[in-house]
């Protein structure tokens, strides 16, 4: 079997198998495919973009820092495009491409002015021309005497940025910043590339700070990179921590290397098989799967421990006989564990499905290793000594239940109050953002950049659709008109919608007529031009050009071909029944006011954060039921095998453990979400394991006709195994509780408290007063 896995591994693990992107953990949206497509398009650019600001006391210094940074970025070969100087050539080209359609393309403000008071347009022109500035506009005047195209063209970039040497310059109280934007080759960077990205940021920052400058950077790729780095760090901490703990425990207990090596064999077989199979099934596995997977060590080790601890329970212990005694317990243990993991498979989260498969395969293979190989490998394994921990565990399992039972009256009341109070305090938090924790410094930089450069679109956006192009245009215009009052009230700082930049062909014709009626037919333009001092020839020429342009219109595809990537990404295209676009939003301060606009025709409000959070909440409820069902299933299964009364005793251990764990979360105000429920599935598996082995120890005593000293020893060896396994599991999961990712931390906390309670309660199962 290992041969098979080995062969498979040579095929699977040679590919790129590790995934680090945060979004890969989340389920594909449950919404319609159009919305999913819109979300993908909306995020596409953002997920690749890193924004850099190099700061210094003067703009010259900031620019020179930025130029050095640009070289550094180019050398790194991580980026597809690096933008420092504004692409002036491109802007000029766009100007020339759209210029012939100047009488058709009017911006909303010009349109309104022409409708209400066309003379205002002329006097505003004069204002600009007579001001001490406006030389550039004056130069435009020659071919655009009304400056209507100049207005349209500049309205396309509503955010006015200061430019020096062709580079965008931002200013705050004590620093001047130069802007550089870079797009990664691929939004799904491999781990080593993410590492080099982080190194690049730190390195560039250090260099700049040495020379008196400063660097801040933000972007989705950085968040992903920091996330992977901390996950990687945690894997090694958790992995090393639990391994060291296990080594010490095993050496103390068995005083020989063999059990340690065998445990290691079982665990590594399990982990390796789990890795190979998961990669085969999922193609790529997520780094978070590995974090949880690392904690599998603790559970996989259980089987080996139960087997080997049994050797303390009998004189002249023989592995095969030992297996015969322990096999039913191991089997039931495996089945309950698999049952509890199978619950995870039912979740819609690819991340948890991976964890489930990874764990199930790992456990199964570790179990098989123990059951099939250990009888051979443990030949002539007869420890002569009485380890201290065995004595301790045995003492504890003899006296602890006595104390518990003696004080049971007030203990039960205390426990009931504790659980009730904890559950009372327990409040679910389903915010998806808790999934991703970022270091404070990264968040600070992101906030700073957001404040200096409010151009990055938010997670939320509108999707606008219509039955055809006209219908779509009308719907989007209606939405944009409704957004204007919100921007005026500062509920939104700005938005981007294509229909503002591209009037549909009907509107284009209306625009032409509007100009014609307001300025051309009335002769106003003639007066205006001759007052300014245009030659008769120039006036005639302008009138001619206007007449020639009469039937011109520009189609959306043609217009889009001149647009920048940002605007192109807003268009989702037309299929046989619908045309769709995105209206992206910048600087939202009032979500609810915006979401109300989804009542407009053809408008859908897409809030990825809210969608995922509410899905978390829904699945939390669903999984609670699943969890109850799993506990019930285990109870039924045990009932058939051991009788209802015994099943109740055994199941009560994980049930109470789970309740205590929930209550602890409540008392300590821990994050309670979907993920903790999955942790409770593990508590079920492990708690049932513990209870079953104590029960089996007791049952074996009943079977034996002559009560010799062996009987008590079974219970002793079981308590040793339970204690050891609880300790190893606590080490493994308890270490998850140190994670900086809040969700992993919560998982660790839940399991740790649950397991600890199970350890305290399980000796009650099958306990008899001597």
């Amino acid at each position: 079997m290992m041969l098979v896995i080995g062969t498979l591994s040579s095929q699977t693990l040679t590919k790129d198998w590790l995934e680090t992107g945060f979004l890969a953990l989340l389920p594909a949206t449950e919404q319609q495919p159009e919305i999913a497509k819109a979300i993908q398009k909306h995020n596409e650019q953002r997920d690749r973009k890193v924004i850099w600001l190099s700061g210094a006391a003067t703009s010259e210094a900031a620019i020179s820092h930025a130029q050095k940074l640009k070289q550094q970025l180019q050398q790194s070969r991580l980026f597809k495009t690096i933008l420092l100087e504004l692409p002036q050539q491109q802007v000029l080209q766009r100007y020339q491409q759209l210029f012939p359609y100047r009488y058709q393309l009017l911006d909303a403000q010009t349109q309104a002015t022409l409708q209400n008071n066309p003379k205002d347009l002329l006097s505003r022109n004069l204002e600009t021309l007579y001001s001490p500035m406006g030389q550039m506009t004056a130069a435009d005047l020659e071919h655009d005497p009304l400056l209507i195209f100049s207005r349209y063209f500049h309205a396309q970039n509503p955010i006015k940025l200061a430019v020096e040497d062709g580079i965008v310059i931002l200013k705050d109280t004590n620093r001047v910043w130069a802007l550089l934007m870079a797009d990664l080759e691929d939004s799904n960077l491999q781990l080593d590339k993410l590492e080099s990205l982080l190194a690049l940021v730190n390195n560039a920052k250090a260099i700049m700070q040495e020379t008196g400058g400063d660097l801040i950077a933000t972007g989705m790729p950085l968040f992903t990179a920091y996330g992977s780095e901390s996950a990687k760090h945690e894997i090694s901490t958790v992995g090393v921590g639990s391994s060291v703990g296990i080594v010490i425990l095993m050496l103390l207990t068995f005083r020989t290397l063999r059990p340690l090596l065998l445990s290691f064999l079982a665990i590594s077989c399990g982990l390796f098989a789990a890795l190979v199979v998961s990669v085969m099934v999922f193609g790529k596995i997520h780094i978070i799967t590995l974090v949880f997977g690392a904690s599998l060590i603790g559970v996989a080790d259980d089987y080996a421990l139960h087997f080997m601890c049994d050797s303390f329970g009998a004189k002249n212990w023989q592995p095969r006989l030992g297996l015969r005694y322990i096999f039913p317990g191991l089997l039931i243990g495996l089945l309950t564990n698999l049952l509890s993991y199978s619950g995870l498979v039912l979740s819609p989260f690819p991340g948890l499905q991976q964890v489930a498969l990874f764990s199930a395969v790992g456990l199964l293979v570790a179990w098989l290793t123990v059951v099939l190989l250990f009888p051979l490998l443990l030949t002539r394994f007869t420890p002569e000594h009485q380890p201290v921990i065995l004595k301790l565990a045995n003492n504890w399992q003899q006296h602890w239940p006595v104390w518990l039972l003696k004080n049971r009256r007030w203990l039960v009341i205390l426990l009931a109050i504790f659980i009730a109070g904890g559950l009372w305090h327990l409040t679910p938090r389903d915010d998806v953002r808790l999934l991703q924790s970022a270091p404070a410094e990264l968040i600070k930089m992101a906030d700073k950049i957001k404040q200096l450069l409010p151009v990055s679109p938010e997670n939320q956006f509108f999707m606008v659709s219509g039955n055809n192009l006209d219908d779509w245009h009308r719907n989007e215009q209606q939405l944009l008109k409704a957004l204007n009052p919100l921007t005026a009230q500062n509920k939104l700082s700005s938005y981007q919608g294509l229909s503002d930049y591209w009037p549909d062909e009907n509107t284009q014709k209306l625009n032409y007529h509007l100009l014609d009626g307001s300025l051309y037919q009335s002769g106003l333009i003639k007066h205006y031009m001759s007052d300014l001092g245009f030659s008769d020839k120039a006036i005639k020429n302008e009138l001619n050009q206007f007449t020639t342009a009469k039937n011109r219109t520009i189609s959306l595809p043609d217009w889009l071909s001149t647009a920048d990537e940002n605007k192109q990404n807003l268009w989702l295209g037309c299929d046989s029944s619908q045309c769709r676009s995105i209206v992206s939003l910048i600087g939202i301060t009032d979500l609810s006011a915006l979401s109300l606009l989804q009542n407009l025709p053809g408008v859908a409000w897409v809030d990825q954060v809210e969608q995922l959070s509410s899905m978390f909440a829904r699945y939390r409820v669903r999984v609670s039921l699943l969890l109850t069902a799993a506990y019930f299933l285990v109870f039924i299964g045990l009932g058939f095998k051991f009788g209802w009364k015994n099943a109740l005793k055994i199941t009560s251990i994980p049930v109470v453990s789970a309740l205590v764990s929930l209550a602890m979360m409540g008392w300590f105000n821990q994050l309670f979400s979907l993920f903790n429920l999955f942790a409770l599935l593990l508590v079920l598996g492990i708690g049932v394991d513990d209870a079953i082995f104590f029960f089996m120890a007791d049952a074996s005593r009943e079977k034996q006709t002559s009560p010799d000293s062996d009987n008590e020893d079974k219970r002793a060896s079981t308590s040793l195994a339970v204690t050891l396994s609880a300790l190893t599991t606590l080490l493994a999961f308890g270490l998850l509780a140190i994670s900086s990712t809040e969700i992993v931390h919560a998982f660790g906390f839940t399991v740790a408290t649950g397991i600890f309670t199970a350890l305290l309660l399980s000796p009650l199962v099958g306990f008899r007063k001597v």
Binding site: S131, Q135, M136, E164, G166
Partner: protein, 194 residues
Amino acid sequence: MIILRVLLLILLSLNNCIADDVLARITPQLSQKTITQGLFQQEKRLKFLNKPLLSAGSFSYDQSKGVIWKTITPIPSLLLVNDEHLLTAQGEQALPPAFARVFKALLGGELNRLSEGFEITGKEQKTSWQLQLTPKDELLKKVIKTILLSGDSELRLLELQEANSNLTRIKFSEISHPDRLSNEQQAEFERLSP
């Protein structure tokens, strides 16, 4: 809007003062007071128009508060500028970073602050002087050919020759240095930094 470019492109780098000989001799002649105010006459000659665009109005400069540029004829309009903001009738405009500094340099009589961005040559007589500024920056050269400045104890004339042979000439007159701003001026600066 890009309206602002040219005068504003002068912005380039006005930091280190490499005190030119001419500047060194002229600067002491110029009065440097915290408040400067006066009248201006502006003439723009665009090569495709057969008459100049003439405008006139008043200006006020306060070392710490900025500049008020008030056009009175032919169309009244107001332009307010300080280190952070640029306000016109059409609302807040993007402020080219050194725009305020250029205004300060010119109106506040700190001419030596211009030497970083421009080659400066000049003449000086007993009571008057003339300077010719040529941009060092290649990009700026494409827009501005030269800037001519002349004056005595005050800046009296500014002439901007564009590369496309358009020309802007601003004459300053009735320049005075009151001790404090008028209430009206105060109120206008208030609008700039509320």
